[in-house]
């Protein structure tokens, strides 16, 4: 029982075309057997304002993060979450969200930590769905709890920790934050509450490629050739590279992880979710400031 891929021409040029669906395709297939549509937004209330009929909500703060440890939920909690959303191990999960799928990509990355096989993004996300005047509803979707097995989370292939980054120098790093955050110009503002990094700047050698460059103005992903120009030509990534992407807490870099892995076909991409809120507070790690990547530290 496999839900067919969206044959949209644009997707055919991507490395894994089946990881995206178009709004047209979803409008036709959101009620199909085996399909579960998930909304995942930055704003925790947006789903309540209106969502695609039949979709369920997964919130990154309250559902995907462990409430005590700074970590993701474990296999048992993920299984319970999936069950409560009516998702089985065989479900085709289609995630959409606000802000060019920024949080949807984050949720997809977490699904991948648990090896959920068929998980796709709606190209253009919530913004495009609404811009096209497609229907949403405020009626909560009825869910029949499912059986979902307890699968141990497998971090190693796609998740980097601080020590992995320290051992990574010499390989490409991508900083997907804004240019001001990269240079270190933005961290403190006198007399204002501060978000929490003691130092500004970036991890030495990291290339600056703000995540949103991968999104077009209608929130869809840029075409294969546009993405190749950004990440291969400009940022210098090459086939076979071992890449780590990071941002502030690992959400924006999930979007870039998706682009590099599923749209451009890089096979060794990890997301450093500790990101700047860890690195910018860690003791004795190297930091570069200014607009240049900076040199790898001597070891």
């Amino acid at each position: 029982m496999t839900v067919p891929s969206d044959p949209t021409q644009k997707f055919a040029a991507y490395a894994h075309p089946s990881t995206l669906v178009s709004t047209e395709w979803l409008a036709e297939h959101h009620g199909d057997a085996g399909v579960v549509v998930v909304e995942s937004d930055e704003d925790v209330l947006l789903y309540e304002v209106g969502h695609i009929e039949g979709s369920v909500k997964i919130d990154w703060h309250t559902d995907l993060n462990d409430k005590v440890n700074r970590d993701y939920i474990d296999g048992a909690a993920f299984a319970a979450l999936m069950s409560s959303k009516g998702i089985t191990r065989d479900s085709t999960v289609i995630i959409y969200g606000d802000k060019s799928n920024w949080w949807a990509a984050y949720a997809l990355w977490v699904f991948t930590l648990f090896g959920h096989a068929d998980v796709r993004l709606l190209d253009g996300g919530r913004t495009k769905w609404l811009a096209e005047g497609r229907e949403i509803t405020t009626i909560a979707s009825p869910v029949i709890p499912s059986d979902y097995p307890v699968i141990p989370r497998n971090d190693a292939p796609i998740r980097a920790f601080k020590n992995d980054v320290l051992a990574h120098f010499g390989n490409p790093l991508i900083d997907v934050r804004s240019e001001e955050e990269y240079s270190g110009a933005r961290t403190t503002m006198p007399a204002y509450p501060e978000e929490g990094a003691l130092r500004g700047g970036h991890i030495p050698t990291a290339a600056s490629v703000p995540w949103a460059r991968a999104a077009a103005t209608d929130s869809t992903f840029r075409t294969r050739s546009e993405l190749d120009a950004i990440y291969r030509t400009e940022a210098g990534l090459a086939d076979g590279d071992d890449v780590i992407a990071y941002c502030r807490i690992g959400e924006r870099s999930s979007h870039t992880w998706f682009v590099l892995t599923h749209l451009l076909g890089f096979e060794n991409v990890r997301n450093y979710d500790g990101s700047w809120t860890e690195w910018g507070n860690a003791v004795a790690v190297p930091i570069a400031v200014g607009t240049e990547p900076g040199a790898a530290p001597q070891r």
């Binding site: 930055e42 704003d43 925790v44 209330l45 947006l46 309540e48 703060h61 309250t62 509450p193």
Partner: protein, 143 residues
Amino acid sequence: MSALPDSLTEIREDFLALEQKDRLLLLLEFANELPELPQKFQDHPDLLERVVECQSPVFIFVEVDTAGAFHLHATAPRESPTTRGFASILAQGLDGLTAEQVLAVADDYPQSIGLSEAVSPLRLRGMSAMLGRAKRQLRERLA
């Protein structure tokens, strides 16, 4: 500890009386109740201060009227209901108080209304930032 104004106490009690899921819906009600900016401020975007700690674009402006009553005006996009809800709680809870009363509101009021679990502590920081900036603007206005 100074006494919390009645308006803010009532809001807190309303939230705490509800189950977690219903607290979100009450926050949505607040979001829907956030009034449009008065015309005089709509024509003066320069007066509005952006709350950069909130991920969505929210702008606030505080006013003390001729009778000495405080008003908080805020604007945030429809697609940011959580931020609108936070702004609306503060706008309603602080409206009509004296400057002294506003400055005496505990800085951790946002953490006390039972939304940490439903919304997450990180998001609640946006509301704390809004309160902090409102108080700072007010102090500047009084100086």
